[in-house]
């Protein structure tokens, strides 16, 4: 009995030890598992836990401003006041909106949208109740917001174009990036680009200098809970955004705005250029559009209004539009003739109002003729017969070559997209593109700026600047600390002096085509100029018989383009101005606006005043030349 019992106890003890052994094995496994997780792999889990715990919220950089040559903001950022609703902050969204509705209007559509967002978003993500509030409303709401559950007043930075339409084409605008913009941008930028409210340049300088203007996003380290709700911000472990750089243009906001207003509702462009440096002082295309409308997302009605307007407000005419230069081209032909020595300045050509070439009559714009004209008279009166004659003597090749030296057909790089090349025709071009041989008649037409030649207002401005200064200026839009005067073109001083004298006579001598202007209007300062008319439509003999004689009798879109190029002071040129009025009915539509803009420029003399860089580096301030 006792032995049996001892046997039993022994058996129990054995089995207890066996089970304990199993337990010890189990606990060893647990211990090993903990060691693996907490010691061997702990780094990995620590990182995962930090991923859980911390988020980096992108802090978007402030977009750099776009300034005029004196530092006047053309594009800056303004504070936009908005009201946000955080659904988790209120027990009933409608009650909060009702309370808010006592201080501002909230449409039913807006309410529905807020409810829809509240259902889609997580409850701690704020929903915009109202954007772009005026200060009055915002400050009222601000006062009462603490008593309205879930409502937060907020300030957001929005691009602002204080000059509105005046700079719209040059500066462009910013908009919310679309999928293409994001795909074409650097992959690292995607998070920033997808940030609500972030906008990128879509046109003009805004897109051309996007890289400089944008800056780089900063990151705000935040501690978040499992739902993504921010528990706290950790500023000392955050990275500040590097703000976008300011971009300085050569434009003068005052002259740009004046030119824009002076052109009014005409479909027209104006370019003002520093004749020695090529700095563009104004680059205007009218009518224009309000870039501020595009920032928020333009309504389809507004967009349709711009798109369907026959004056094409969305089109940057001053760099994209190309026109036959008309008689303004005669300055180039005159220079070519003098350089080539195919005519003496004193040699006269007899103008009877027309000349015959083969079986075709070529007319002077003055049907009754100019009589005997030399180079000076020919420029002054814009005699076509004289230029037919010297064009024939020159031949198309020499005209083509001289036109190229004055920038016709050259695609200028001013740093923004869309600059037109224009056309400087040659027999080779004609054969290649139209499969036609060059004829002397075509040389005649080219000699007076009609025919195939096409130039943008920008090219005409460069041409004028080169005539005025004799320097091979390149147009620039972006201001450097110092833009040195351009190299001389290499034409003889005598040639240039004679051409300039002819252009001065256009305005200041009796019989000059622009004598009626009465000069620049500044005491002691003379100007030089040249009119031009680009024919759009030939009035037919039948129409003539039906009484259509004048441009005014034609529909707007068939009227001739009016051109005027000018510079001042005539004896020591500083600024050139070109105005092209589409379907202006003749050069007279362009002369007065161009003169007024030039007068404004000379009166202000932008290049003689310290610019935006003066404060940075006084030594770079340039005096007048």
């Amino acid at each position: 009995m006792r032995a049996d019992r001892q046997e039993q106890e022994l058996k129990f003890t054995r089995r207890a030890l066996l089970l304990s052994g199993a337990g010890a094995l189990g606990f060893t496994i647990l211990g090993a598992r903990l060691y693996a997780l907490q010691v061997l792999d702990s780094e990995r889990y620590r990182l995962l836990s930090e991923d859980n715990q911390f988020n980096f919220q992108l802090t978007p950089p402030s977009r750099g401003r776009i300034l005029d040559r004196f530092g006047v903001p053309i594009a800056d950022n303004r504070d936009s006041y908005r009201i946000l609703l955080t659904p988790e902050g209120t027990s009933d969204i409608d009650t909060s909106l009702d309370l808010l509705g006592r201080h501002m209007t909230i449409s039913q559509g807006r309410r529905d949208l807020i409810h829809r967002r509240a259902r889609q978003n997580r409850s701690f993500q704020p929903i915009t109740v109202a954007n772009d509030l005026d200060w009055q409303t915002f400050s009222t709401v601000n006062l009462y917001a603490p008593d309205i559950p879930g409502i937060t007043p907020d300030v957001e930075e929005v691009r602002n174009y204080p000059y509105g339409e005046a700079f719209a084409h040059v500066v462009g605008y910013v908009q919310t990036p679309n999928e293409d913009d994001i795909a074409n941008d650097h992959p690292d930028a995607e998070r920033l680009l997808r940030q609500p409210g972030f906008r990128v340049g879509k046109n003009g300088v805004e897109i051309a200098r996007e890289h400089d203007l944008r800056g780089a996003a900063g990151a705000l380290k935040t501690e978040v809970d499992a739902a993504g709700r921010i528990i706290r911000e950790i500023p000392d472990q955050s990275v500040d955004p590097s703000q976008g750089m300011d971009v300085v243009l050569t434009l003068d906001a005052d002259i740009q705005r004046f030119a824009s207003e002076r052109l009014g509702d005409e479909s027209a462009s104006a370019v003002v250029i520093d004749v020695n440096t090529g700095e563009l002082i104004a680059l205007v295309s009218n009518p224009s559009f309000d870039p501020n409308l595009f920032v928020r997302g333009i309504s389809s009605a507004d967009y349709a209004r711009y798109r369907d307007n026959d004056h094409r407000p969305l089109y940057h005419k001053s760099i994209q539009g190309t026109y036959p230069p008309g008689s303004t081209f005669k300055a180039v032909v005159a220079a070519a003739a003098l350089e080539a020595g195919i005519i003496e300045p004193s040699e006269s050509v007899r103008c009877t109002g027309s000349t015959r070439l083969g079986n075709r009559d070529f007319h002077c714009w003055r049907r009754e003729g100019h009589g005997r004209v030399d180079l000076h008279e020919a420029l002054k009166t814009s005699c076509d017969i004289y230029f037919y004659e010297i064009a024939e003597r020159l031949g198309i090749d020499r005209i083509n070559e001289m036109a190229a030296r004055f920038g016709i057909g050259e695609e200028f790089d001013i740093g923004i997209a869309g600059v037109a090349r224009g056309l400087n025709p040659s027999p080779a071009w004609l054969m290649a593109n139209r499969n036609q041989p060059w004829t002397t008649g075509r040389t005649y037409n080219t000699g007076i700026g009609q025919g195939f030649t096409l130039a943008s207002p920008l090219q005409l401005a460069v041409m004028t600047a080169r005539v005025a200064s004799g320097r091979a200026v390149q147009p620039t839009l972006f201001r450097n600390a110092m833009t040195p005067p351009a190299q001389h073109m290499g034409l003889s001083d005598d040639t240039m002096a004679r051409v300039r004298e002819g252009l001065r006579a256009v305005v200041h001598e009796q019989g000059g085509t622009s004598f009626s202007l009465g000069g620049l209007g500044i005491e002691g300062v003379e100007m030089a100029g040249k009119t031009g008319t680009a024919q759009v439509y030939s009035i037919t003999a039948e129409e003539r018989e039906q009484g259509v004689r004048e441009q005014e009798d034609l529909p707007w879109r068939l009227r001739d383009h009016g051109l005027f190029m000018c510079y001042a002071p005539a004896d020591n040129p500083k600024y050139a101005c070109v105005v092209v009025v589409e379907h202006g009915g003749g050069s007279s539509a362009a002369t007065r606006p161009a003169r007024d803009i030039l007068r404004r420029t000379v009166a202000r003399d932008p290049s003689s005043r310290p610019g935006v860089f003066a404060s940075l580096a006084p030594s770079t301030t340039r005096g007048g030349i």
Partner: protein, 385 residues
């Protein structure tokens, strides 16, 4: 020859003297760790958990010491009534139970919510110990020593698996089998059970696990075998649990400094996943300490079991220690992703009333067994003797 007579203390002071205070201390350490973690999890607040947990521990420890005072004769007497009472509660819970997470587990008794399956964990061991205590030694290895215990285990297991609560069912079966094994089951039977078990595994493989388990249980198995399965759904918590544990590193993030636990990456942190919070704040050092305390508790328990004279106390102690060990192993194994998600709390540390009480009652019985280790209650005294 003077035989040193081993005595059984009969009066209260004598029994108090015999209390295994080192075991009480070890249990107390776990209780303190529980209160400390619950305080931390509430964001250094006593409410809502820490204060109530401390209160329950107080009640539980007192109850434990009271339970320890009762002689084995008493427990032998009430073993079957308690077992059948618990079985009745399990039947009742089918009709009057409160459903939590789709499983009926609670009976609402006004101020007290009773979890009959918790009661059954103790009752089952009591009933089995009583059965073998009465069984003549020679019959232990016979079939008549096997069939009734199987029924004693099978009845509650069938009821609990219907709740459904697979974790508790497996725990009960494992505990019951351990007791049968300890009672001296013939190795032949063990071999047969092993073969049957193997056949069962083959059978499951043939039928397919998905035809046996409920869909939510099946998903847990899928989630366990593949951490990338439904990572934001069913696998979110197991994966976050591992991150929480692992991010603690060697020495932890510091008390009250846990981030995973505080920022809501694991809900119900205060119950089944509390060990991860402890591992996060105290690291490997803290985790291994909890394991070590538990190992010491079990060693103490096994020591008590071996020292007992009566088969009843031996089997009772071993059975309860096995249940306890399974709790600890399943819980820590689950939160460290060693096994699929099974809803088992960590004894004395996890928040939850019934579990604290049932565990401490179990340790009351073990302490009682230690006090009365030399007692030799009569065997075969009848059903309610």
């Amino acid at each position: 020859m003077a035989v040193f007579r081993e005595t059984v203390p009969r009066d209260l002071p004598g029994k108090m003297m015999e209390i295994n205070w080192s075991l009480v201390l070890l249990l107390g350490l776990l209780g303190v760790a529980g209160v400390a973690m619950l305080y931390s999890l509430a964001g250094a607040e006593w409410n809502p958990w820490a204060v109530r947990h401390a209160l329950r521990l107080g009640v539980g420890f007192t109850g434990m010491l009271i339970v320890a005072m009762f002689p084995p004769r008493f427990w032998i007497g009430v073993a079957y009534p308690i077992y059948f009472g618990a079985l009745l509660l399990l039947v009742l819970v089918e009709f009057a139970g409160v459903s939590i997470n789709g499983a009926q587990r609670w009976i609402d008794l006004g101020p007290l919510r009773l979890q009959p399956s918790e009661v059954m964990k103790v009752a089952l061991v009591l009933a089995l110990a009583r059965f073998y205590h009465d069984l003549p030694t020679e019959k232990v290895t016979s079939l008549s020593g096997l069939i009734p215990p199987m029924m004693i285990i099978g009845a509650p297991a069938a009821l609990i698996i219907g709740q459904p609560d697979l974790g508790t069912t497996l725990l009960l079966i494992a505990t019951g089998l351990a007791v049968i094994f300890m009672a001296g089951l013939s190795w032949w039977f063990i071999l047969i059970v092993g073969v049957l078990g193997l056949m069962g595994v083959v059978g499951i493989a043939v039928v397919g696990l998905e035809n046996i388990l409920a869909e939510y249980q099946m998903d847990r198995v899928r989630a366990f075998t593949n951490p990338d399965f439904d990572p934001l759904g069913i696998n979110y918590h197991p994966n976050q649990a591992v991150i929480t544990l692992g991010s603690g590193g060697m020495t932890g993030k510091g008390y009250l400094e846990g981030t995973q636990s505080k920022l809501g990456f694991l809900p119900e942190m205060q119950t089944d996943y509390i060990f991860t919070a402890l591992g996060e704040e105290f690291g490997f050092v803290g985790g291994i300490s909890v394991l070590a305390i538990n190992a010491l508790i079990m060693a103490q328990g096994v020591g008590v079991a071996v020292s007992c004279k009566s088969p009843f106390l031996r089997l009772l102690t071993m059975g309860l220690i096995t249940t306890y060990a399974l709790y600890v192993f399943i819980n820590i194994g689950m939160v460290s992703r060693l096994m699929p998600v099974v809803g088992v709390p960590l004894p004395l540390i996890s928040y939850g009333g019934t579990v604290v009480l049932s565990i401490l009652v179990a340790f009351g019985l073990i302490l009682g067994a230690h006090i009365h280790r030399n007692a030799e209650p009569p065997r075969g005294v009848g059903l309610f003797g």
